[in-house]
Symmetry: C2
Amino acid sequence: MTMRILGIDPGLRTTGFGVIESEGSKLHYVASGTIKTDAVDIGQLPLRLKIIFDGVREVVARYQPTCASVEIVFVNVNPQSTLLLGQARGAALTALVSLDLLVSEYTALQMKKAIVGHGAAKKEQVQEMVMRLLALPGLPGKDAADALGLAICHAHAAGSFAAIARSAPLAQRSHGQFKKGRSY
Amino acid sequence: MTMRILGIDPGLRTTGFGVIESEGSKLHYVASGTIKTDAVDIGQLPLRLKIIFDGVREVVARYQPTCASVEIVFVNVNPQSTLLLGQARGAALTALVSLDLLVSEYTALQMKKAIVGHGAAKKEQVQEMVMRLLALPGLPGKDAADALGLAICHAHAAGSFAAIARSAPLAQRSHGQFKKGRSY
């Protein structure tokens, strides 16, 4: 079964997005980029959230993903930044669910493990591995690479879930390896 | 000029809303209530945000406000709660701007000063004063009272802004008393 997955790396200034198609173990690049809110004054939070909301909806309308994979953000050193990031993530998630897309969520740690093999991987290593896994002609930008990484991470998780669902008796299916993070 | 103002007190479990009409110095109650997300499991954040988003849009569709007044939330003792509250507020704000409503923002302190006269007012005092100011037959619930308080706060601020705009020379208009909070 072909899945078209939209990965989202939320942020108030820059929200990365990446769309891939997964067919069995094969992965294909579809599109990636960033939604930037720099054009609006930093104090105009509602307008910035609108840019994120409209931008994510536009990406969904254009690339028609079947599901979404969003990074679980963590508490920042600066509590004000945490609050701002939370609101940006809220706008991105809202855009997805307002279009009835099923959303899965992964931590950066889970994504890095899935892409690079260990959670301590640096941004550059994620870019490098995403380029290889999707056979891209060049390095994707950092935010786009994270978003593509989240999409790939979901393709792997959904793939192993499908494998478990095929092989396991019904009673075990709900205890499969397809864990989603629950800490926001 | 009649303004119909929607006040929003955002929260992940309960988002309060209150709609008033202001005509000069007269205030009229239109509606109030809460949007609750309790029916959805606490771990299902995207679905909870969808309930807030859909709920706020439904209130706007039903009561047709001309502008909105939203509480500026602050950093919580628990950083995880801050992150959750941020996302809830993001969903509520997104609902408003997705319908092109102009959003003004006030801190709880500004609202309490406008309603009770001092920033240290307790919830019960806000309920009591909102009941009096809007000539309600009984005490509104706490979340609804805060939301109505935010709407009244904006009515006052917009009223004094209009008065300044009428009396001041053009060059001074941008330095009026109509300050909006800028700390999220």
